[in-house]
């Protein structure tokens, strides 16, 4: 009797250990609490209670994962909803979320996922495979026009989903895809019981605007919406049904509430942080970081410089096909912009070292292509990084037929003075400063550059709708270290192919090559091959300058000393990615 019992014991241990190894994550699956399949996460054991105050730069536009595109909305949605497989921003690896395990078929085209049993939405309704199937149906529906749809395509064709059992789904990919797991990150699962009838009425795109009643919104994230006062604050409260527990079995999140104050400018944010109104700032500019560093000890807060993240700031020219009747001036100037020697000369003339020093106070890294050193897996160190060289820039312009008049002004082969404008958004002071330095650098070449500060929506309209601009300074942050989410930026026809949105098919050889390489790295399973392809993409971007990358600011965060579990990451939501594990060390806010 005893011998059989011991053998049985060993088998259970072997089963648990192999199960844990198979998952490959650092989350240990615990036995179900009651009937629930909770996820036990590693980390500090904190104390329940308290309210954390953070801030948003603008009001969120909507709280629906289906249609949200702006940063504020996405930040809140990240706390209200959950995905099947999640990329941990700290480790940059995938981990199990709503899917507790998954298997890939041998040909790499089928993924079978087992979902957690017995967990519930924030309004108490049960979660099952029907919710998953419904969510993907909505995201992939062409009539809904969800921005998520592009991210759920492999080689231009959407994935398909099928329910196998009450807690089992199968995804089918049109072709094998190396990082299929990463595709599911941030694809939030929607509550079928609340949204199915709205979808059938065809009104799903208008659901959950910020005027929605909190009771109408249900998700699987750590928090749920409690209150929203437009222009002032948005308050989230703990989701009592959240499916994660800490190592001691206490259900997460620890915090009772998170309040987001709407503070439009970073300077106001910093002042309120110093005053104690705000507890954590996710992104600080370098100058404010230095201002806070002066008072660090007295203020009882900690500052962290995490090094370069995934953000890259760049200057780009308008290479869209425009109507010569409506925009004749732009058409004329595009003759300059389209010459690769012109763009290369501009890139050679920019003093990146001064930009890093003057604009970012040395808390940035100069860039010559779009991948930052913060992305260790994908950065190509062999891309040439030439320092500023006015001589080289002048030589390139001469080769392209530009000459200097005796009064110093640069003229094109037709004799017209080279003059253009750069759009910026003044609410991002650093990009405006980059534009001012670029303006001064280009004046050394004899170009006359005007800086045009316009309000954010006006800038977006000109870039995405009217194409009525000449050049602009913008920044992009990739959602993931993997190159895949960037496919819309670099391939012709992509939704964020900013500088040439009208280019549905490649118009130059190098663009065709980039298209080919991006598609190749999507389909290949071998990391080394993908790295080779993406390395070549980086070289082409640095050589032909569709965008002229300038610098990547370091990720700078600040938080009060008494916040426990604070582990900022360089990806995603830098400070609040683990909001469900943050807690107050001492008794703080009531």
């Amino acid at each position: 009797m005893r011998r059989r019992g011991r053998r049985g014991c060993i088998w259970i241990w072997i089963w648990i250990i192999s199960f844990w190894l198979a998952l490959g994550s650092d989350a240990v699956p615990q036995a179900a609490t009651g009937n629930e399949d909770v996820l036990a996460v590693a980390g500090d054991i904190g104390r329940r209670g308290g309210r954390l105050v953070a801030s948003l730069h603008s009001d969120p536009k909507c709280l629906s994962p289906i249609t949200a595109v702006d940063a504020s909305s996405k930040e809140i949605i990240g706390l209200l909803f959950a995905d099947l497989i999640h990329i941990n921003p700290y480790t940059q690896h995938t981990e199990a979320a709503l899917a507790k395990s998954w298997k890939a078929s041998p040909d790499g085209k089928r993924y079978t996922m087992e979902l957690r049993h017995g967990i519930r939405f924030s309004d108490g309704s049960p979660f099952d495979a029907d919710d998953v199937v419904f969510s993907f149906k909505v995201y992939l529906d062409e009539k809904v026009h969800s921005p998520q749809r592009d991210l759920l395509e492999v080689a231009g064709k959407p994935i398909q989903v099928r329910k196998i059992g009450p807690y089992e789904v199968e995804f089918e990919l049109p072709q094998p895809y190396a990082v299929a797991e990463r595709m599911f990150d941030s694809v939030r699962i929607l509550p079928r019981h609340l949204l199915e009838h709205v979808y059938e009425e065809g009104k799903i795109s208008q659901v959950w605007r910020t005027t929605a009643n909190p009771a109408e919104i249900a998700g699987l994230g750590p928090f749920r919406l409690k209150q929203y006062i437009p222009g002032q604050q948005l308050v989230l409260e703990r989701n009592p049904f959240y499916w994660k527990v800490d190592p001691s079995g206490t259900r997460l999140p620890y915090l009772d509430e998170i309040a987001f104050l709407i503070v439009p400018t970073e300077d106001a944010e910093v002042i309120r942080f110093q005053a104690g109104d705000i507890d954590v700032i996710s992104r600080i500019g370098a100058d404010n970081y230095d201002a806070l560093a002066r008072d660090q000890r007295a203020g009882a807060y900690q500052l962290q410089d995490l090094g370069p993240g995934l953000e890259y700031n760049f200057l780009f020219f308008n290479l869209n096909e425009v109507d010569p009747q409506k925009l004749p001036d732009l058409r004329r100037k595009q003759e300059w912009f389209r010459r690769p020697e012109f763009r290369e000369a501009v890139s050679a003339a920019i003093d990146r070292e001064s930009i890093v020093r003057l604009v970012y106070h040395n808390r940035a890294t100069p860039l010559w292509d779009q991948v930052t050193p913060g992305n260790k897996q994908w950065v190509n160190p062999a891309v040439p990084q030439p320092p500023q060289s006015l001589a080289r820039a002048t030589a390139l312009l001469h080769a392209a037929g530009f000459t200097r008049r005796p009064d110093g002004v640069l003229v094109d082969p037709r004799g017209q003075a080279v003059e253009f404008s750069i759009l910026t958004n003044p609410s991002n002071a650093q990009r405006t400063k980059v534009a001012t330095i670029v303006q001064d650098d280009l004046s050394q070449l004899g170009m006359r550059v005007h800086i045009v500060p316009l309000e954010f929506q006006a800038v977006m309209t000109r870039i995405f709708d009217s194409y009525d601009y000449e050049a602009a300074v913008l920044g992009l942050v990739s959602g993931d270290a993997d190159p895949n989410p960037e496919i819309n930026v670099w391939t012709s026809g992509g939704a964020t192919h900013l500088w040439a949105l009208t280019e549905k098919k490649p118009t130059t050889d190098w663009q065709a090559e980039i298209d080919r390489l991006m598609r190749l790295q999507t389909a290949t399973l071998d990391y080394r091959e993908r790295k080779r392809a993406y390395d070549r993409v980086q070289e082409l971007v640095a050589q032909f300058d569709p965008v002229i990358c300038v610098a990547s600011p370091h990720v700078l965060v600040a938080a009060k000393n008494t916040i426990g579990g604070f582990k900022p990451a360089v990806m995603g939501d830098y400070a609040l990615w683990n909001a469900d594990q943050l807690y107050w060390r001492l008794d703080r806010h009531p």
Partner: protein, 345 residues
């Protein structure tokens, strides 16, 4: 007598302040757009008479400024290298690509060294030079806009006051609409419709036009009041009776009455319009980079870091104080000279 002295004093003081601004090409040591990227946000250069060995020099000198550490953002003084302050220097060779001519400057120092009387801004540009050149824009815009708006105001006020009836009604209702509109918000919206490429001259004229046209309403109401009472005077009625033409009556009898009011209005409006220009440039609507104006020099102060640690960036704001005080004191002295006119601001 005191009144007269006050008028003369404030007028003289104003002229004294305006001369360096008008002659910025001579009084400013550097041009306003050259960036000295090694010394961003440097404090005002201290002027020394005693060197590091303790010797007294009759001719004051400045020390060299270096970056705090290679690639660093702070700056510090290195008094092992000094250069004397000289008068009547020729500016160094213009930077390649700029079209500014080398010219005679009131003071300066050796070509490789720099003297920053009011420190530098975030790009290392000399604040003192920018203050003087920027004053040309701000004060010039204020004066020209006053001229425009007063001109329009006198025209509208005279016509409304003299002709009365429906002409008066129309003009005054229009004036009320102009006074009620929230101009700053309208202009923020208008900027999005303007052509992207506005060079500095066009931006300057646009500023003057906008401020001048937006502000004709208030002076016109005052002028109308003066004309209304003025046209009842005996000699005006007699002239009308004699059949003198309207234009002649306006020119010879009405306008002289208006002139005293107009002069006082000038003294009151100029500071308001200077402030309007500063506000618009601060918000990004007026002068763009790199040309300085007192408004866009202040724009950097919205940044918490600059506001708390770099007091010299407030220079253009502080420069407004004496200008305003002198203008208002001048206006006050004018008002006292004409006590029979009830002038509401």
């Amino acid at each position: 007598m005191i009144r007269k002295n006050k008028r003369r004093f404030s007028a003289a003081a104003l002229v004294l302040l305006l001369v360096p601004v008008a002659g910025a090409g001579f009084f400013a040591p550097y041009d306003p757009i050259t960036q000295n990227r090694d010394t961003p946000l440097a404090p005002p250069t201290p002027i020394h008479f005693v060197d590091q060995h303790g010797r007294f020099h009759v001719r004051p000198f400045v020390c060299r400024w270096l970056a705090d550490d290679p690639g660093g953002v702070g700056t510090r003084e290195d008094c092992s290298q000094t250069s004397p302050i000289r008068l009547f220097v020729r500016n160094e060779r213009p930077v390649e690509g700029q079209t500014l001519n080398p010219s005679l400057r009131l003071f300066g120092t050796d070509p490789q060294e720099r003297i920053f009387l009011l420190g530098t801004d975030g790009y290392g540009r000399d604040q003192f030079s920018r203050l003087l050149y920027g004053g040309q824009i701000s004060l010039g815009a204020g004066l020209l806009a006053t001229g425009l708006s007063l001109g329009l105001g006198i025209l509208a006020g005279c016509v409304a006051g003299y002709f009365g009836s429906w002409v008066d009604d129309t003009i005054m209702r229009a004036a009320e609409i102009f006074m009620a509109l929230p101009w700053i918000y309208l202009l923020l919206a208008v900027r999005a419709f303007l052509p992207l490429n506005l060079d500095s001259r066009q931006a300057f004229l646009l500023l003057i036009g906008v401020i001048g046209v937006a502000g004709w309403a208030r002076p016109s109401r005052l002028i109308r009041g003066v004309v209304l009472s003025g046209k009842q005077r005996g000699y005006v009625l007699a002239a009308r009776g004699f059949g003198v033409s309207t234009a002649s009556i306006m020119r010879r009898h009405i306008l002289p009455q208006v002139s005293s009011v107009a002069l006082t209005q000038v003294a009151l409006l100029v500071p308001q319009y200077i402030l309007a220009e500063v506000t618009f440039s601060f918000l990004g609507l007026g002068m763009g980079e790199p040309r300085p104006s007192w408004g866009n020099m202040l724009a950097g102060l919205q940044n918490y870091y600059i506001l708390t640690a770099h007091w010299w960036m407030l220079a253009s704001g502080l420069a407004l104080l004496p200008i305003f005080l002198l203008f208002y004191s001048f206006a006050d002295s004018l008002q006292r000279n004409f006590p029979d006119l009830d002038l509401a601001r």
